[in-house]
Amino acid sequence: MIAGKSKSLNYLRVAAAWTAACVMFFPIFWMILTSFKTELQAISVPPLVVFEPTLENFTVVQERSDYMRYAINSIFTSFGGTLLAMIVAIPAAYAMAFFGGRFTKDILMWMLSTKMLPAVGVLMPIYLIAQKAGLLDTRTALVIIFAMINLPIIVWMLFSYFREIPTEILEASRIDGARLFHELRYIILPLTRGGIVSTALLSIVLCWNEAFWSINLTASDAGTLTALVASYSSPEGLFWAKLSAVSTLSCAPIVVFGWFCQKQLVQGLTFGAVK
């Protein structure tokens, strides 16, 4: 009796999960579907689900704007920004986690609070500085900015992972005479590989989707895919099929990347919650 009840409850749970998944995914499915329609089919009422797919939108997008250049800029800036931030964050998080002082907590919280400053508040100064330094519309500027805006979260996440390492292991290795570099290289990094990877993954996703700075500081040379989508939004807003095509093209790399890394993400985003 009880077994039967819990079994049907279980079916309900699975059905609910599948329904939720379909609802959440539907907008993306619809966007992809629309990108294969003609403009007329895209706005037909009732909406078409079965139609003859066309690749016309993708060709038009490719002819009008060089997709590959934007994609390469996006890849370069997301990976570059993440790499730069990781390089400065790992030593900092290491020092904070294992040799924290009285102010470690405050430093961490201060770092996080810098993330709360609205970017618009400092758009003018950053724009002027970039202009003076000749960095407007360069990938260098974006790499630096992406590293800065993600640094607080990266330091914080790494700090949480490092804190999970039992200090006994470190003490033992120090007695064995391991130097700082060796300790990082052979003990800390292998033990926290999962955490480091998922931190980097999250940072890459955030950089890829960053819109404010890429739209305001880049033009044709360093424009990323978010800037490309934005350039299709206003005048072409009425051409849904082309907009869908350019959106699908811009999101596909990171969504597929996310799919491949989802196991890593699910296991990694603990923020030190595993004790």
């Binding site: 998944a21 709360m116 609205p118 508040g121 003018m124 979260i153 990171i254 996310g258």
Partner: protein
């Protein structure tokens, strides 16, 4: 380890962030006390607090502050509750679990601009949008979502994107829960609800703090979604602080007033940050 070495390891991060914060901040404060309109560069000079006065008495100011807080609060409530339910739903083995998980977390990877345009055009458009089509099919009057319920529409869009984030964090945390403890509680006669409220929820408290912290950080300065959908309208109905500053700076070319707004937004952000850290900071840095 040597104290200086410890400082040296932290120095690059701290110094870079300090530079990134202090230099633009001091420039913003400086601009905020000068007459600085991009259209009239010849008019300049110190004006004291008049930019602040202008910004704070702007009819859009009060709605903008309220909208900012409303956005953060309601998105948090929706994403946390839905994210938690979904996490519980998929936290067991069942056929197609991998696919379900992939479908559920996909919205998190979509660009904010794409997200906004997608909802604006294909769902909320009053003539061709799917919502209008469905309500027409049901014999109801189609609703112009972005004109009639601009805030609700924006909340829906952003929640759709961030539910997966809450889900990911909660799911990670659920998977680290002690299964033996749960089974022991079950043997002792605790029902599913009791197990959830007395064991699972306390276990999730830290991830809850994480979700609240990170989402507040991101939602205090929501911009792209408003920029491509409502443009802050109708009237000031969907203008938040970030968008108000943007419109002062880049639509009215008044860098002085925009900077004053920037300073104000920074102060508000710090108040919220202080409040948050008081509230949940402890569980974040243990």
């Amino acid at each position: 380890m040597n104290k200086n070495l410890v400082r040296l390891l932290q120095a690059p991060s701290v110094l870079m962030l300090l530079l990134w914060m202090l230099v633009p901040l001091s420039m913003t404060i400086y601009f905020s006390t000068t007459r600085y309109n991009l259209l009239y560069p010849e008019r300049s000079g110190f004006v004291g607090f008049s930019n602040y006065e202008f910004f704070l008495t702007d009819p859009a100011f009060v709605p903008a502050v309220l909208n900012t807080l409303l956005l953060v609060g309601s998105i948090l409530v929706i994403t946390v509750s839905v994210g938690l339910i979904l996490a519980v739903l998929v936290d067991h083995k069942f056929p197609g679990r991998g696919i379900v998980r992939v479908m559920l977390i996909s919205p998190f990877f979509i660009m904010p601009t794409v997200n906004a345009l997608l909802w604006k055009n294909m769902f909320m458009n009053p003539v061709y949008g799917l919502f209008a089509v469905v309500s027409g099919f049901l014999g109801l009057e189609p609703i112009d979502w972005l004109a009639d319920f601009p805030m609700a529409s924006i909340i829906v869009m952003i929640s759709w994107q961030w539910i997966p984030f809450a889900l990911l964090i909660f799911l990670t945390s659920l998977q680290s829960q002690d299964q033996e403890q749960l089974e022991a509680a079950e043997l002792d006669g605790a029902n599913a609800l009791q197990r959830f409220f007395y064991l699972t929820l306390p276990h999730l408290s830290r991830s809850l703090a994480v979700v609240i912290m990170i989402q507040t950080i991101f939602h205090l300065s929501i911009f792209a979604e408003i920029f491509v959908t409502t443009g802050g309208g109708p009237g000031y109905d969907s203008t938040n602080l970030a968008f108000l500053i943007f419109s002062q700076a880049l639509l009215q070319f008044d860098a002085g007033v925009a900077s004053a707004g920037g300073v104000f937004a920074i102060i508000l952000a710090n108040i919220v940050a202080l409040f948050l850290i008081r509230l949940i900071g402890k569980s974040l840095v243990i």
